[in-house]
């Protein structure tokens, strides 16, 4: 009923031009008016894009245009540490996460009731706000009275390590927290991809003697290789700019040795008041990011995988 009312409301509006068109060559006329409509429909998105993507990007490039900024960055030992941390964070975090997600998606293909209910719980980190969960993880680690140390004491009887005092443990904590938060999302993607593999392929493979781990290596993985690669590339690009994990879990502790580019840029821009230097720090990821994006776009085009 409500839909009908809407139709009536627009009825007279469109009928009149249609009557007019009927006499002359209305087909070309319709095409022209269609284009006008299409442009009108696109205006909101294009406006958002120009005002909030194109302009900020151009403004960012302008802010980071001075080559001296990059010399300044390279002379800062903390920047070098940050760059290495970012590379480690992306290389280890993304690859471990993707590989585990791929294996777990196989586990979750089991459709028994308890695996299904486990999947629902397992996906929870994906829905929770990063701020909340990373703060919670921070408190699990921060003092010797945190939950992890309490568990350590309960199990081994002796005091646990101070996680955020050692650079390496703090880095490991950041990467683990990152995997904890994002592995469920990618597991879900891989589950969907596995479900799109037709069962007859598996049946045929089983007749040919491929079962168990052979099925995984010779059937499932080759079929999912494209998706795996595209997901990994996409995740690499996103993770290069990851902010909340390090900002909340280690907050750069100890002594800002576990910063990544996004948190380094944030501190330079908003704590120390050098926005141009912050932008330059972010832009220093471009030599890595642009090839990744080009590779990603080409793979997406070539394979027709939809993101």
């Amino acid at each position: 009923m409500r839909a009908n009312a809407a139709f009536d409301a627009f009825g007279p509006l469109s009928l009149t031009p249609a009557h007019k068109r009927r006499g002359n060559s209305w087909f070309s006329n319709l095409q022209a008016s269609d284009t006008t409509w299409a442009v009108a429909f696109l205006v909101p998105y294009v406006a958002v894009f120009v005002a909030f993507v194109a302009y900020p990007v151009a403004f960012g490039l302008w802010m980071g245009r001075n080559p001296a900024l990059y010399g300044l960055l390279l002379s800062d030992p903390r920047y070098i540490t940050t760059a290495i941390n970012t590379l480690l964070f992306v290389a280890i975090g993304v690859n471990v996460k993707m590989f585990l997600a791929f294996l777990l998606s196989g586990f979750f293909m089991n459709r028994s009731w308890w695996v299904r209910s486990l999947l629902v719980v397992y996906l929870l980190p994906w829905a929770l706000p990063g701020l909340v969960v990373f703060t919670s993880i921070h408190f699990m680690l921060v003092t010797q009275w945190g939950l992890l140390d309490s568990l350590w004491r309960a199990i081994t009887g002796s005091d646990g390590p101070l996680f955020l005092v050692s650079t390496w443990i703090a880095m490991t904590a950041n990467i683990t927290a990152y995997i904890w938060k994002w592995m469920p999302f990618w597991t879900l993607i891989f589950i969907a991809a596995r479900m799109s593999i037709p069962q007859d392929i598996y049946d045929a493979a089983e007749i040919d003697g491929a079962s168990g781990y052979r099925r995984l290596i010779y059937v499932t993985f080759p079929l999912l290789a494209n998706i795996y690669l595209i997901c990994t590339l996409l995740s690499c690009v996103w993770t290069l700019g990851d902010f909340p994990t390090v900002y909340f879990v280690s907050s750069g502790a100890p002594a800002r040795t576990t910063d990544v580019l996004a948190t380094y840029g944030f501190h330079e821009a908003f704590d120390f008041g050098y926005p141009n230097l912050g932008v330059a720090a972010m832009m220093s990821a471009l030599p890595l990011m642009i090839p990744l994006v080009i590779l990603l776009m080409r793979r997406v085009r070539a394979t027709g995988v939809q993101l």
Partner: protein
């Protein structure tokens, strides 16, 4: 299938034992995964139920569970959470506005791109894809300056603008993909009957796209609710703050009532949890809807 069945049946005694072993291994693994997933969540509850605000108890179970921190948040009786419910309203306002605008702008654009056969449409689709790939944190610093120029600093609309910007590309991609399932002949039939493109959009496109629109709406809502960086950078006054910014204020204050902070964090997590459990199917559908298929 039948071949496989006969093969397994000939090994029945050993097969049963092996199957039992595999089941036990899977169950152990499942319990481990459950603990891994829920440990940080449990830690939040543990800290919120602790009556001693400033110190950690160092125990695994709450020694004397105390729900007073939740009551304090409810009644706003601590200076850092005086405006909690107002800020909660701000968060809802931010999420709902982002959701509505994303669905509106995204569906209009994807209708024009996929149903009206624009010749240069692929340029816009490519730009949408590029925006989707871009890490949001990279735009944060220029964004703050630009919002200042637009006169939107310390306004919730600046955050809404940012979130709509980052959510619409995903909306366009998903809707574009899902729209392929709807035959274009429907549009053509309506056009022959004299429907304008606006009518086709309202009467045919939107109703048939409903599941995808729900998925996109949930995505936008959760994106806005779960983001922290833009809310922190763009909102500064207590009246305009969202809960995410308010939680962070606890870190900056001299006192440290962590139980209050965690109680707020738990309350703040409830809407996404409720959405997740209630609309799980749509969220999953949004990811798998023709998407990521090779």
């Amino acid at each position: 299938m039948s071949v496989a069945l006969t093969v397994t049946s000939s090994y029945r005694p050993r097969g049963r034992k092996r199957r039992w072993f595999r089941k036990a291994a899977a169950a152990t693994f499942g319990v481990g995964l459950l603990i891994w997933t829920l440990l940080p969540v449990y830690n939040m509850v543990l800290m919120a139920l602790d009556s001693d605000a400033d110190e950690f108890t160092g125990s695994i179970f709450p020694p004397d569970p105390d729900f007073s921190s939740f009551a304090s948040v409810w009644n706003e009786d601590y200076w850092l959470m005086e405006h909690f419910w107002h800020q909660f309203g701000n968060s809802i306002y931010l999420g709902v506005a982002t959701m509505v605008l994303t669905v509106l702008i995204g569906s209009l654009a994807s209708f024009a791109l996929s149903r009206m056969r624009l010749r240069q449409g692929w340029i816009i689709t490519d730009f949408a894809l590029l925006t989707y790939v871009l890490p949001t944190a990279f735009l944060a610093i220029p964004f703050v300056h630009i919002m200042h120029k637009y006169g939107l600093s310390d306004s919730v609309w600046s955050v809404i603008a940012a979130m709509v910007t980052f959510a619409t590309p995903y909306a366009i991609l998903i809707l574009h993909q899902y729209g392929k399932l709807i035959p274009i002949e429907l549009d053509e039939a309506a056009k022959v009957d004299g429907a304008s493109p606006l009518q086709v959009y309202l009467r045919i496109y939107l109703p048939l796209m409903a599941p995808a629109l729900v998925a996109v709406g949930i995505y936008a809502l959760l994106l806005a609710w779960n983001d922290y960086l833009y809310q922190y950078l763009l909102l500064s006054s207590t009246g305009h703050m969202t809960v995410a910014v308010a939680i962070n204020q606890f870190f900056d204050s001299d006192e440290a009532p962590w139980n209050y902070m965690m109680a707020i964090a738990i309350i703040y997590s409830l809407p996404p949890i409720a959405i997740y459990f209630g609309l799980c199917r749509f969220m999953v559908a949004g990811l798998t809807m023709g998407g990521m298929k090779g």
